[in-house]
Symmetry: C2
Subunit: 201 residues, 2 copies
DNA sequence: ACCTGAACACCGTTCAAGT
DNA sequence: ACCTGAACACCGTTCAAGT
């Protein structure tokens, strides 16, 4: 897909694309520098020409995953609540588009790497409700933590189901029969909390 | 602290205690089976007599971290909102008590391991508000995701600050000047959302 | 600029064997 | 029941050297 599979001499872009492929095909635990190198027909040490270390390579992967979010129209007339929900949904869908997407993005953000765009887009949607900058940023952060935690768990479950068959009654209390509904509920709580703080202002 | 430092022959309990020590002294990346073994003056393979693998050993560590939460009085007369906030605070404090505590608990819960007690205690507090069981469980899950995400980030920041000196303006948009206030804000949003859904019922 | 070859300092886990 | 000794199959990263 991102060419140059046999011809040697790769770009940073090639490396990132190959990493996304491995992530989606094999999952995060199998996305090793050595496997990535061998997918590119190159020695592991060659990767360090493109990235200083594995974490920065994963940060690039994370940025590409969230950058693929569908754009959300935010007409000034629409209720801000709908904009926030749409942003949350777009983020969830982007994370679900790659295997272990949520965990990659989560660990990257935890390390302070990755683009700030993700929080900012959420914060902008919140700010449509007229909240001040700090409130918007804090609400966006809370939303992001919920989304990443929820989707991480969702994706972990997917993997279990696909390989473990998961003996009956083997469910954790975090498991949800309807992940999409549980997701909407969680986002709804945070939006509701914002509404309430607004009406009390 | 958990005895038997030189006399060979350890119990599962000794192993878990030693793991907690290493976690708090060196952090999760340095909590390896080999280092744990050498702290107990034992060959790495000996650990597999006590735990089938590293993940189950970490699950035991996670359970001990959250089990140390301070008990929260829940008199039936007190407002349920205060009970939920108290449970969230108790959980945050327990996670902060050990280095990388949030990450250990988070990854354990993500794998479906660890005791269900953590979610259940949160759900019980929510249920004091008269919410049905599914709503309480979903709200507790949302709360838990927020708490784990927030505290994980908080602890990552602590480590950065302690070793990196962190050049000026090196802050990510997720960073907070006042983590405790940001935490209370996030919990407040979720509690507020519950209040609103209640008044609309 | 991009890569090779070789090495360093590690991992988690298994397994036969010992007491 | 609890442990040793040795091995297997890996890791991320560095570094001199090549083109």
């Amino acid at each position: 897909m991102a060419g140059n599979e046999t011809g040697r001499r790769h770009s940073r872009d090639d490396v990132a694309e190959a990493a996304l492929r491995i992530l989606d095909d094999l999952g995060l635990p199998d996305l090793t520098m050595r496997r990535l190198a061998s997918a590119l027909d190159v020695q592991p040490s060659a990767l360090y020409h493109h990235f200083p270390n594995k974490q920065s390579m994963l940060a690039e992967v994370a940025d590409r995953i969230v950058a693929a979010r569908r754009p959300v129209a935010q007409p000034d007339v629409a209720p801000w609540q709908a904009a926030v929900r749409a942003e949350a949904d777009a983020l969830r869908d982007a994370l679900l588009a790659y295997r272990d997407g949520a965990e990659v993005v989560s660990s990257t953000l935890a390390l302070g790497l990755g683009s700030p765009e993700t929080v900012e887009r959420l914060a902008r949607a919140v700010a449509l409700g007229g909240f001040d900058e700090e409130t918007s940023r804090r609400a966006a952060t809370a939303l992001l933590h919920f989304v990443l935690g929820h989707v991480s768990h969702e994706q972990q479950r997917l993997q279990y189901d696909s390989l473990g068959v998961l003996a009956d009654a083997e469910t954790s209390p975090l498991d949800e029969d309807d992940p999409a509904a549980a997701f909407a509920f969680g986002v709804g709580l945070l939006v509701g909390g914002l509404e309430l703080s607004r009406s009390r202002r």
